[in-house]
């Protein structure tokens, strides 16, 4: 790689499942700035079957937009940057989630203990978890064997047993994997990587069972004691194996690996690293999401704990139809401010799925896509919450529920939205929404922020590239991140609790003004971030909470943003619009959407729709 101090021009791509995004960062008088961005369809599939074609197409677009050659006559990147001829770049980096990303099966002894820790380790490494095997998962051995064969994962992570604990059950699981004689998804030419991260006393037996049949790697136990998780060694090993085995067999990746100046990073790993950096830098708790074409990645940084989940089948192109199938017609339609025949909607959704790179042209179609995005984000966030729970198996007094992993799920999650300071959105549908107001509303409707929460968005969807850049040139990554990437939409204030129609749910006073918020209402107070902090007193109605407890007023410093300060009086736990299609008449539902859309000025052209 070039000498860091001499790097003037940086090219970075993110090869998504649908689109390959390319950014060019240049050093100017005021430091590193984003110069231009281009994109092209990803070309992992036939007829090209070579990811570098899409990369080169995206680079060509960047080259065209900046008006400077980046590729030579043979289509090779010109390196380093030549100021005399005004051509080329100094370094080239890439992230990737194309080719279906990294697909894994994980296993542990008890579903809610070691198997869950294994799941977290895999998700943390940026993998899609196709299935979780456990001794107590209720499936018979032959069913598990059949499943492994059908799924053909890229890699398997096996855990189980605390150190010094059960050997028998762990080996049993290894025998299941061995009996399946699993073949990797991409090609027969290599052995399936299996990582063992369970009870160290069982390592010998596991090696005997799987050593000859798979590319077995042993790492430290990811759950050495019930009250301790040690996920990092497994995560690192997964990423190493991903590059060595899986990527090397994906269409065109050997070429891409030869093109880059640093190792290719899985996209979710790169986005996660940048989110972790922000949380640390500002000392805040963050929930973030990157909504892609095939998958949606959700991240949370709560204190020292970082969690990441990849929802494999929630996304805006390849997985579009699955979002509809999982959310259901009514949940999607609750966000749509006009009536639409179910038959027609179904056809439109399927047409987007089979032509995933197409974009909404009419406003009505944009509104539909944004309704789908709300549901994709909501479903992914629910999945994330159900995984971010305390360690099961740690005995707290006589709490047998926790010991046996009972009662697991949303209500058990460690994510308390009242404690989350910032929500970050990334991904095409959020970053490229024609109006930032639409982005803000999508984030509010799907994440349901509580109390006071800052809403931000990745300006043009470049967090993956900045994530990989941060590992190479942190200074450049931070500068671009602050100046060109993170857009502050504004703070959202939402009282928590059941709201009653007609009730004033919140009074917000600042300077000499008092703003009243009614139940079911949305308000925007126009204020930019540049106007600086504003001290406000928030007085929730009795029974409602904005952070200090039910009915208790609180003094807070809030900021505006490109949208302004947003007040949400629709209630939380429960959210007053959760089952809108079922509980409200069509007339009332449409009227509510209309007033909210007007309050946030979401679709100024809406009059022309429907």
């Amino acid at each position: 790689m070039a000498d860091k101090s001499k790097i003037r021009s940086i090219l970075a791509t993110d090869c998504g499942s649908t689109t390959t995004k390319c950014i060019l960062i240049e050093l100017g008088e005021d430091g590193y700035r984003l110069a231009v961005r281009g994109e092209a369809p990803t070309t992992v599939e036939a007829p090209a079957e070579d990811v570098t074609q899409g990369v080169l197409n995206a680079v060509r677009e960047v080259s065209e937009l900046i008006g400077r050659p980046l590729l030579d006559d043979k289509g090779k990147l010109i390196r380093p940057y030549d100021s005399e001829k005004n051509q080329g770049v100094d370094i080239y980096l890439s992230t990737s989630s194309a080719g279906g990303g990294l697909q894994m099966v994980v296993g542990g002894v008890v579903r809610e203990m070691t198997a869950k820790s294994a799941e977290k380790a895999a998700l943390g490494a940026g993998a899609i978890v196709m299935d979780v095997l456990a001794v107590n998962d209720g499936r018979l051995p032959h069913e598990k064997i059949e499943l492994i064969r059908q799924l053909r994962p890229d890699m398997i992570l096996l855990a189980g047993g605390v150190d010094g604990g059960t050997v028998k059950h762990v080996v049993e699981l290894a025998q299941v994997v061995g009996a399946a004689d699993p073949r990797p998804r991409l090609g027969m030419a290599y052995e399936l990587p299996v990582i063992y991260a369970g009870n160290k006393d069982a390592a010998g037996d596991v090696e005997e069972t799987l050593g000859g049949k798979t590319a077995l790697e042993l790492v430290e136990n990811l759950r050495p004691r019930l009250e301790e998780e040690n996920l990092q060694p497994s995560r690192l090993k997964i990423q190493e194996q991903f590059l060595e085995h899986v990527m090397a067999h994906a269409p065109g990746y050997p070429n891409l690996m030869a093109m880059v100046d640093e190792e290719i990073m899985p996209t979710p790993a790169a986005v996660g690293s940048i989110m972790e950096t922000i949380a640390k830098r500002d000392g805040i708790s963050i929930v973030g999401a990157d909504i892609g074409g095939a998958t949606t990645d959700v991240f949370s940084v709560l204190g020292e704990t970082f969690n990441r989940t990849v929802s494999a089948n929630y996304g805006m192109s390849y997985s579009f139809s699955n979002v509809y199938a999982e959310a259901g017609h009514q949940q999607v339609m609750r966000w749509v401010p006009f009536s639409l025949d179910e038959r027609e909607l179904r056809n439109r959704i399927k047409n987007k799925m089979i032509r995933p790179t197409s974009i909404p042209y009419l406003l009505e179609e944009l509104i539909l896509e944004q309704a789908m995005a709300r549901e994709a984000l909501r479903l992914s966030f629910e999945q994330h919450k159900s995984l971010v729970t305390g360690l099961k198996g740690v005995q707290k007094g006589s709490d047998l529920t926790a010991l046996f992993g009972l009662g697991d799920g949303g209500e058990d999650t460690l994510i308390n939205m009242l404690e989350v300071d910032m929500v970050i959105g990334s991904g095409g549908v959020l970053s490229h929404a024609p109006r930032r107001h639409q982005t803000a509303m999508m984030l509010i409707d799907s994440f349901l922020p509580e109390g006071v929460t800052t809403l931000t968005v990745d300006s043009i969807f470049m967090m993956p590239q900045l994530g990989v850049l941060a590992a190479v040139h942190p200074e450049a990554a931070t500068q671009v991140f602050e100046r060109d990437c993170l857009i502050y939409l504004g703070d959202c204030v939402a009282p928590v609790g059941r709201v009653k129609e007609g009730q004033t749910v919140l009074k917000m006073s600042f300077d000499s003004e008092v703003v009243e918020l009614k139940a079911g209402e949305m308000k925007v107070i126009s204020r930019t971030r540049e106007e600086g902090p504003l001290k406000v007193v928030l007085e929730p109605a009795p029974g409602l909470d904005v952070g200090a407890g039910r009915g208790k007023p609180v003094e807070r410093t809030v900021y505006g943003g490109v949208v302004g300060m947003m007040l949400d009086g629709r209630g939380r736990r429960p959210f007053g619009f959760a089952n809108a299609v079922k509980e409200l008449s069509e007339e009332v539902r449409l009227a509510r959407l209309k007033t909210w859309n007007q309050a946030l000025d979401l679709y100024p052209e809406e009059a022309k729709v429907g």
Partner: protein, 373 residues
């Protein structure tokens, strides 16, 4: 220059290659250079039999380390269903409980750590056919072959059902004709039928009853797909449905006339044998359904068409793949470099296109699909 959306191939005459790979290593039964017929077996293998795992140490009430001594069979031995595999210790050698094999197969392994035994049923043989008439271009030992052939290829956008073959017949006289299930007759048994703008659930059921091989149409309603499958299709990975007939749609969801070029080519090849597959995979490693009509007697090298230019350029024939002109065919007349504002409010790169009737308008480049071939 710039981005493009690769389209579906519709080629009257091209050199075509089909990889025929076994799911597991096995035996290739043809040689390089050999001429094969569509239904000829080219490779076969044995899928491992079903596995039965039993914790025999538990069943017999012995320690796993003692298990081997209680067995009447060694690892690798064959077993019949009901045959005694082991006996418990009993009391002073009496009251021993036998454990009988639940399956016919082999004793695969015995674990002294877990007390688990693995029994495996005999392997299930599977064979793979050539799928199309052609010549074996290359052999990948133990894995499969590549069949090279020459002829017409039509890629569809979505399909259901696996590989099949039949004589091609065009039931629709026009590309946008709507047919009824009653239009299918007993004489259509074993045929690949072109049925016009839409295929319905009722038509698929009728075709299956009659033994029709495949149905080809412009579109299909998603509601009909749900009716046929019995569930909402979430992630589009198809090909294994057992509908009794293969279905290929060329344009998309809803009633849509088959594109002129596609319909013309299908009509030209009526009476010839078509190999077809409904297998669709709309995500990494995209697989599209296809219809292939081979033409082995032509001069392959001479008549093969040039590979299409994948660049979106002036005069390129395109299909509009998004509302408001969904399904219409056009040609590119201008490619402005700078992004422009569209009715959704977004600013995107656009192309100006001209419909066959001369109407011109601008659409996002992302909403154009090149018509290849």
């Amino acid at each position: 220059m710039g981005s493009y959306t690769p389209g579906l191939k519709v080629t009257p005459a091209a050199l075509l290659r089909f990889e025929r790979r076994l799911p597991l290593k096995g035996e290739v039964v043809v040689k390089e250079g050999e001429r094969v017929a569509w239904d000829q077996v080219v490779a076969r293998t044995d899928l491992p039999g079903r596995v039965e795992m039993v914790n025999l140490a538990n069943k017999l009430g012995v320690d796993p380390s003692e298990l081997e001594a209680r067995l009447f069979k060694k690892v690798g031995d064959s077993l019949d269903k009901g045959e005694v595999l082991a006996k418990s210790k009993g009391l002073f050698g009496y009251f021993q409980t036998p454990f009988r094999s639940p399956i016919t197969g082999k004793l695969e392994s015995v674990s002294a750590t877990t007390g688990q035994v693995i029994l495996r049923s005999p392997p299930r043989p599977i064979s793979m056919s050539a799928y199309v008439d052609g010549i074996i271009e290359s052999v990948e030992p133990n894995q499969g072959v590549t069949v090279k052939t020459f002829g017409s290829l039509i890629q569809g956008i979505f399909g259901l059902g696996g590989e099949t073959s039949g004589v091609l017949e065009c039931l629709a006289s026009e590309a946008d004709q709507t047919l009824r299930p009653e239009d299918l007759e007993a004489a259509h048994k074993g045929k690949v039928l072109v049925v016009g703008r839409i295929v319905t659930a009722a038509m698929v059921r009728r075709a299956a009853e009659l033994g029709v091989s495949a149905l080809i149409a412009g579109g299909v309603e998603d509601a009909d797909i749900r009716e046929l499958l019995g569930y909402d299709l979430g992630v589009a990975i198809t090909g294994n449905e057992r509908l009794g007939v293969t279905m290929v749609v060329t344009e998309g969801f809803g009633g849509l006339p088959i594109a002129g070029k596609t319909f013309g080519l299908l009509k030209d090849r009526v009476g010839a044998r078509a190999s077809t597959s409904g297998a669709t995979q709309i995500r990494a490693g995209v697989i599209r359904p296809e219809i292939i009509v081979t033409d082995l007697e032509s001069d392959w090298e001479k008549e093969a068409e040039e590979p299409p230019d994948l660049e979106l350029a002036i005069d390129a024939p395109v299909r509009l793949i998004r509302e408001p002109h969904f399904g219409r065919l056009a040609k590119v007349v201008e490619l402005p470099v700078q992004p422009e504002r569209i009715p959704s409010g977004a600013k995107v790169r656009v192309a100006e296109v001209e419909l066959t009737d001369g109407t011109r308008f601008r659409v996002p480049r992302a909403n154009l699909e090149l018509i290849e071939g």
